[in-house]
Amino acid sequence: MNKRFLSTIAFAGAAAFALAGCSTETGSTGSSSSTAEAESTGGSDAAASDVITVGFAQTGAESGWRSANTDSMKAAFSEDNGFELIFNAADNDPAAQISAVRNFINQGVDAIVIAPVVEDGWDDVLQEAADAGIPVVLEDRTVSASEDLYASWVGLDFHAEGVKAGEWAAAEFGDTETNMVVLEGTTGSAPANERAAGFDEAIAGTGITTIDSQTGDFTRDGGKSVMEGYIANYGLDGIDLVYAHNDDMGLGAIEAIESAGGVPGEDIKIVTIDAVKDGMQALVDGKINYIVECNPLLGEQAAQIVKDVLAGTAVEKAYYVEDQAFTQEQAAEVIDTRPY
């Protein structure tokens, strides 16, 4: 009930924000918001010849990975590259994000890039974009809607990331009886679902048992709080391995293990996904045992796809960016040269 109330407010806020954006865009003709749609469509046609207006609906700024991703997108969709970027961060609220996309449609942008918060619930708004003739490119997370409703997707193979992390765990522990706890990502998000599925496949048949799995919402605070609960429930000795769906939750888990008097990376092994700076530092420090990279630098590729789509060039439905994985030794070698 509370959440619903809040999302209503957030919706109203996002709508107000976007309307404000509308009126500045079409401000020269002094429009009211009811006529903004028609006028801005006209405006963008005129602008399409030189500058490409792109609306980017980012999920929020929940982690270091996301910040790096936002920076990459902003750099790629810069004015120098011939873009005008309208940026919106939905603060992890699916309703606010859908309303932001709807406002991009109303503003008549040339293309829309979305990093969906959750997989479901996109059919209607994507159909609206298709009806308005605005191509949609998805970035990072995927959607469950039909492939016909968007032009292309660029991102990471979350399933393969999960498999890589799982293969390390399988090699590390093998048939040894191992109690694993999982810090899940945001419930219902594609990386949370896929990373769990990939990992489980890779550890099938080994001695690793998942004794508990709760969501830490991809945040440090969430990871720490959930990990504290695990430690209280199973004890430090009752947990051998933590699988965190991102670095930040893993970093929270490190805090929890340390404050409970354990040594992260030794008493309890930790495997995470992302490879952001803080995570890599923890890996070098020996507090995390293995990190599978999730490359956030998707901006340039996304920008290229948008250009291709608008130029009428055929594009693939999905572009996978190759991920690496790091052990503690490998991390020490590359940490100074990584751009994020």
């Binding site: 009930m1 509370n2 959440k3 109330f5 809040l6 407010i9 806020g13 929020g60 700024a61 929940e62 982690s63 270091g64 910040s67 936002t70 603060d91 992890n92 899940e184 419930t187 219902g188 508990d212 799995s213 709760q214 969501t215 919402d217 945040t219 440090r220 605070d221 969430g222 720490k224 709080s225 959930v226 504290e228 609960g229 695990y230 209280a232 429930n233 199973y234 004890g235 930040d248 970093l251 929270g252 805090e255 404050s259 409970a260 008097g261 803080d278």
Partner: protein, 358 residues
């Protein structure tokens, strides 16, 4: 019977039941271990993790007592965390005590100004509290993001980390902070006339004004207190993970604080308030949070579990449900032998108006 009628009986009973159910289901829930002269374990974690919500709910109690509401507390937390960590991150020596004290003082000062702004809108301009504080609730996180430059600011600073992760005598520092704040607020409100005046303003602003109570100052003060307490909560929260996460710090905490205040028996209609009740309410909410983990409720179902427990707790505390319960037991005892079902109807129907003390 007098025990049953005490205003803290039902809130305490709800908390006690929650704890007992947990301990029966999993004895680890109450397990406390001693290590290096400090206590660890789930009950200690609950006491420690309650700190931010406790401070916010205390401020909320005062505001609600004046018939108001403060929706901006979560955003104020985010701003305060952002301010303090940005100062520390920009300092040449993040670990120095002087820098940390400066950072905390600045953050609390900023929170005070934000609280004063809310109070100004409500008490001087007469804007409805829910609207007045909505402004900051929506704008505050934007301000926090602006301060941190849209990123999550992280620092390494031993003195700052001590606030939420350190230990004093046996127990976490954060626990002592909230106990001290509860004691100070209770002393100011209950050992001076301030508490009574606050209740007077909340029960009938017009009558109290005619009686010579300066309601403007009292209402303004309540919002300032709420802002400052949210600021301190923001510092504790940022210290917990040593990161200022402007989007998630104190997210939805205003609603959990209102829940805790109401569970503690303070009416949203204003007037009578109970500080002890709020303390119990906050512990109930935090315990419930841990319960979800200990029961291993799957993440997708946990909001439903939370909602069901809250509904039960609220129902258990409802005077009308008590009345039904009594009339039901009376009817049943009329048929069979044994003692009559307690108080006569007239007594149970009269709501008990007893002095509330902290």
């Amino acid at each position: 019977m007098t025990l049953l009628k005490h205003h803290l009986f039902w809130p305490s009973a709800a908390l006690a039941t929650l704890v007992v159910v947990n301990v029966i289901a999993n004895p680890n829930f109450a397990k406390i271990t001693m290590r290096d002269g400090d206590l660890y374990g789930n009950p200690v974690t609950i006491l420690r993790e309650s700190a931010p919500l406790m401070l916010v709910a205390l401020g909320m109690t005062l505001v609600i007592a004046t018939r108001g509401i403060d929706l901006s507390v979560g955003a104020v937390m985010a701003v305060s965390g952002a301010v303090s960590l940005t100062i520390i991150a920009d300092a040449p020596d993040p670990g120095s005590l002087g820098i940390v004290v400066t950072a905390i003082a600045t953050a609390v000062l900023v929170a005070l100004v934000l609280g004063a702004w809310n109070g100004f809108l409500v008490s001087v301009l007469g804007i409805q509290p829910i609207i007045a504080t909505l402004v900051l609730m929506l704008a505050g996180r934007g301000v926090a993001l602006l301060i941190t430059g849209g990123a999550i600011t992280t620092v390494t600073s031993a003195p700052y980390k001590f606030i939420s992760n350190g230990y004093l005598i046996l127990l976490p520092v954060a626990f002592f902070i909230w106990v001290a704040v509860v004691a100070v607020v209770a002393l100011i409100e209950r050992r001076t006339a301030l508490g009574m005046l606050t209740e007077a303003v909340g029960i009938n602003p017009e009558a109290s004004r005619l009686a010579g109570v300066r309601s403007r100052g009292i209402i303004w003060g309540a919002y300032i207190a709420s802002g400052v307490l949210a600021g301190v909560a923001g510092i504790i929260n940022a210290s917990n993970t040593m990161a200022a996460d402007s989007n998630n710090a104190g997210y939805l905490i205003e609603l959990y604080a209102i829940l805790a205040v109401v569970l503690g028996g303070t009416s949203l209609m204003g007037g009578k308030f109970s500080i002890a009740g709020t303390v119990i309410g906050v512990l109930t909410v935090t315990t419930l949070d841990k319960t979800i983990q200990f029961f291993g409720v799957p993440p997708a179902q946990s909001p439903v579990f939370f909602a069901v427990v809250v509904v039960i707790v609220v129902l258990v505390q409802s005077p009308r449900v008590h009345q039904w319960g009594r009339s039901l037991s009376r009817r049943r005892s009329g048929h069979g032998p044994g003692d009559a079902g307690g108080e006569p109807a007239a007594a149970s129907a009269t709501p008990t108006r007893q002095e509330v003390s902290a």
